[in-house]
């Protein structure tokens, strides 16, 4: 019985260590605009979409728009793909990515549609 605990325990420790290491290195914290702009780490930000600012550059295949936070601060977000399905109607967006040269480069956009349980679905993957 002892050996089972030793082998099982070693396995668990090894994988748990891997899990914790990956968790720590990949965790993208939720931050405010100022912090997002100040760092170059992967973070996620949430903001209200400024409707007038939304434009899609078809040649560069890039969606660019501004978001504002609750304090009214403004930030430009760039997304290297077409707008997600329900982007046009979304009020808020969660952008996952990093800041580079004053612009937030999003690799994922999560659309907030407060209407429904399981349904409004989109992923950038």
């Amino acid at each position: 019985m002892k050996r089972a605990y030793i082998v099982g325990g070693a396995l668990i420790m090894a994988f748990a260590a891997l899990g914790v290491a990956q968790f720590k290195s990949l965790l993208t914290p939720y931050v405010g605009f100022q912090e997002a702009m100040a760092s170059s780490a992967q973070v996620q930000v949430k903001g209200k979409i400024v409707k007038e600012s939304v434009r899609f550059d078809r040649d560069a295949n890039r969606l660019v728009f501004d978001i504002t936070d609750e304090q009214g601060r403004r930030m430009t977000v760039e997304y290297g793909r077409a707008a997600p399905g329900n982007f046009a109607q979304a009020s808020h967006v969660v952008a996952v990515g990093q800041a580079k040269g004053g612009v937030f480069h999003a690799r994922d956009l999560l659309i907030k549609c407060p209407s429904k349980y399981e349904g409004q679905t989109y992923t950038g993957e």
């Binding site: 019985m1 965790l27 329900n86 407060p114 209407s115 429904k116 349980y117 349904g119 679905t121």
Partner: protein
């Protein structure tokens, strides 16, 4: 108070009564058993009646009921009126409760000596669901009178989506039953038969939940256009974690039945599966993950109840373990580490590890908020990195499984040992080659090579054993082997079909009538077919000529749905070689007509015209609640001098804006006001007319990927499900065996010993 409310409240009374009565039965008041059963049966009938009522309300278009208004409409096809039952939270709670009640009726008849305690536990679960349904009733009235319903979300109006949630809820229900037996065993202190009673339920729940996950994957692939079949979204993960724990449990129960070993571990796993199902429900329905998931989780304000339920059952489990764990007798888990018993134990550890690692990722917002003080989330890479090593280790065990003997069976033959050595060498080579590729081409390629190598190495021994078992003992004994073969095939399919997932998909912009070469095929966009009636569906018709001359038609579609969001359904053409997966991005024009943005007093060139924005013409409220606003424009031909003032307007209300263009006198052209902002004082205009329309050129932008051998993935998953189903049938039958044959444990043991022999024997004959 409507009939629906009355049914739910009466059912709560019934379930509390059956809870108390069954608890008394468990304490020895045998005379109450019939009353307890009657109370539970009556409760279940009330739940069934409430469900029937909701279906009837859906089918008879009773839009005065809010739930019907929200998830149905008079134009909705009857099949989606039926599936609209679980289109929203309240209805899906009711459906789940219906399954719990039906499963309870079966459990009541099958629970043997454990009936009192197990049914008391089950009644408590039923009561909890009823409390949730009183909190958020599907029978609540619509606050204001309405003509018609809003209709079920079109994403859910789909064959796969109609059957996916019921299958998941059925899986959750069945996989919770072992917890009732674990509870009963802990309360009564009688552990002798709990594993035999629970095994069939565990297998059944694991299989059904697995099929549910698979259906969700098919839905994501075919309807949502995720491009893949698994997105590691919290909604998916939250069902995956109980499934992994269920996988650990059914292996553990197998060991416990063989030699009364790992009893404490199994009791823990059975109870953990149940608690994790509630935890999953809490995460996905309380709204706590709202900012972290691509699904939207609107909180219905019942998360306090969910949290209370979760905490209550967790504390109950901890309390029982604290009180009872010393009294649990269990045998030795294995005799030697080269026995199959030990191998299976390691498998259980890996299942548990996979569950913990996925659960950590899925809970990352809560964990990081609690530990680091602020919420964060992990990306999809986390899951790939932590699960790949677990998957490799698990495959190694699955590969060894048919080559290693149970410890009390005959000594393994020499040939068996040689095969095991050969497998070991192959797996070691796989690791070595994987590391080589890791160094040369990066970790992802390395991992893929190793996973593929492992899957190919473990397939032959398992396939051989499966065929051999099928021939000698029939299908019922082959379930486990089939699942192992399916696992290897599933991994191969996953690798093949996702081989280009990392890269950005190729984007193809096709202008109507202008063929293009892409991926070695000739693509033609022949036109757009509009949906019938009020549907806003636009189907893109694509003709694809393959090099061998065969012509395929692919029809992805774009649809604007009720709330204005866009649904993009991929076009998929499957063949033996793989799936051609065409996801629509947008439908636009190649040469957009002249357009401009103007500030008040500003001028711009618009094609042959010069346009000046003079000012807004004032806003007007229309009787239907919409607002009409116009812009005054001065227009002259650029090479002319005569200018004229025209008015273009836009009407904004519910739904799409209505454009009221201004015709330029003496021409066929008109100016459309497409956007305006009173705040910034700016407008957007474009030039419309026959000339501009002809020249525009309809253009479809598509993302095209080819997914090689996609069918292999579904085949592997299907074989696992079939294996699970076969084992379920076997274990359900077996659970009845001891009673019918006067409790002959020895006979069951004997049968299993004989089966165990076939593993190494089969291996010996392979040489």
């Amino acid at each position: 108070m409507t009939a629906g409310h009355v049914l739910i409240i009466a059912a709560l009374g019934g379930s509390l009564a059956s809870l108390v009565l069954f608890a008394l039965v468990a304490r020895g008041r045998e005379g109450l058993r019939d009353h307890a059963r009657s109370a539970f049966t009556a409760t279940s009938i009330l739940v069934a009646a409430a469900s029937a009522l909701l279906w009837w309300l859906m089918l008879s278009d009773r839009f005065d009921v809010r739930y019907v208004h929200d998830y149905s409409s008079s134009a909705q096809p009857p099949v989606f009126k039926i599936s609209g039952f679980w289109g929203g939270q309240e209805g899906s709670w009711l459906l789940w409760l219906l399954f719990i009640s039906l499963a309870g009726l079966a459990l009541m008849r099958r629970a043997a000596h454990a009936e009192g305690a197990a049914m008391a536990f089950w009644s408590s679960v039923q009561a909890f669901f009823l409390i949730i349904l009183i909190q958020r009733s599907p029978f609540a009235p619509t606050p204001v009178p309405v003509e018609d319903g809003m209709g079920l979300n079109p994403l859910l109006q789909n064959y796969w989506m109609a059957i996916h949630p019921p299958v998941i809820f059925l899986g959750f229900t069945l996989l919770s039953v072992p917890a009732a037996f674990a509870f009963a065993a802990l309360v009564t202190g009688d552990f002798s038969r709990w594993s035999r009673l629970a095994h069939g339920w565990a297998l059944g729940g694991w299989t059904v939940l697995g099929v549910g996950l698979l259906l969700g994957g098919v839905w994501a692939y075919e309807t949502l256009g995720w491009g893949g079949w698994w997105g590691w979204d919290p909604v998916e993960n939250s069902s995956l974690v109980p499934w992994l724990v269920g996988g650990a449990l059914l292996h553990g129960l197998m060991l416990e039945k063989r030699r009364a070993a790992w009893r404490k571990l199994n009791l823990f796993l059975a109870y953990a599966a149940f608690v994790l199902i509630i935890y999953a429900t809490f995460l996905t329905r309380s709204g706590v993950l709202g900012d972290f998931s691509v699904h939207s989780f609107a909180s219905l304000g019942n998360h306090h109840w969910l949290a209370a339920f979760l905490t209550g059952y967790t504390l109950l489990g901890i309390g029982l373990v604290a009180l009872r764990t010393r009294g649990i007798e269990q045998g030795e888990g294995y005799d030697s580490i080269s026995s199959k018993e030990f191998l299976v134990f390691l498998g259980i550890v890996l299942f548990g590890l996979a569950a913990v690692l996925v659960a950590i990722g899925m809970s990352s917002p809560l964990l990081s908020a609690a530990l680091a003080g602020r919420a964060g989330n992990v990306p999809v890479e986390y899951y790939y990195r932590v699960t790949t090593p677990v998957a490799l280790a698990m495959m190694a065990l699955v590969g060894m499984s048919p080559l290693v003997a149970w410890s009390r069976s005959r000594r393994p033959s020499r040939a068996g040992k040689q095969l095991l050595a050969a497998l070991g060498i192959s797996l070691a080579l796989g690791i070595a080659v994987g590391v080589l590729f890791w160094v040369r081409s990066g970790p992802e390629i390395g991992a893929r090579v190793a996973v593929g190598w492992f899957a190919l190495s473990i397939l032959p021994p398992n396939l051989y054993t499966l065929i051999d078992t099928l021939r000698r003992q029939g299908p019922l004994a082959s379930g486990g082997h089939a699942a192992h073969v399916g696992l290897a095939i599933l991994f191969l399919g996953m690798l093949a079909s996702s081989h280009n997932n990392g890269a950005e998909p190729d984007r193809l912009a096709l202008t109507q009538g202008k063929p293009q070469e892409h991926l070695g095929m000739r693509w033609t966009f022949s036109g757009v077919r509009d949906g019938e009636g009020s549907s806003r569906k636009q189907t893109l018709e694509l003709r694809v000529e393959r090099p061998d001359g065969r012509v395929l038609t692919v029809s992805p579609s774009l649809e604007e749905v009720r709330d204005g969001s866009e649904m993009r359904r991929p076009g998929i053409r499957s063949s033996l070689a793989g799936d051609l997966y065409v996801a629509p991005v947008e439908l636009g024009v190649e040469n957009p007509p002249p357009h401009a943005h103007l500030e008040r007093g500003g001028k711009a060139d618009l094609g042959p015209y010069r346009v000046e924005f003079l000012g807004f013409s004032g806003m007007e409220q229309k009787p239907d609640g919409s607002v009409q606003a116009g812009a005054r424009l001065r227009v002259r031909e650029r090479d002319g001098t005569a200018s004229q003032e025209i008015l273009a307007a836009i009407r904004l209300g519910q739904g799409q804006p209505r454009y009221l263009p201004g015709r330029i006198p003496g021409t066929e052209d008109q100016i459309v006001l497409t956007q305006m902002s009173v705040e910034s004082g700016g407008i957007s205009v474009l030039l419309d007319g026959p000339k501009w329309r002809e020249n525009a050129g309809l253009q479809a932008v598509l993302e095209v990927t080819f997914k090689p051998l996609a069918w292999v993935l579904w085949l592997g998953a299907g074989i696992i499900a079939l294996g699970g189903a076969l084992s379920t049938v076997r274990r359900v039958r077996e659970a009845r065996l001891p009673e019918e044959r006067g409790g002959s444990e020895a006979l069951v043991r004997q049968i299993e010993e004989i089966e165990a022999l076939t593993g190494p024997e089969a291996a010996a004959r392979m040489v």
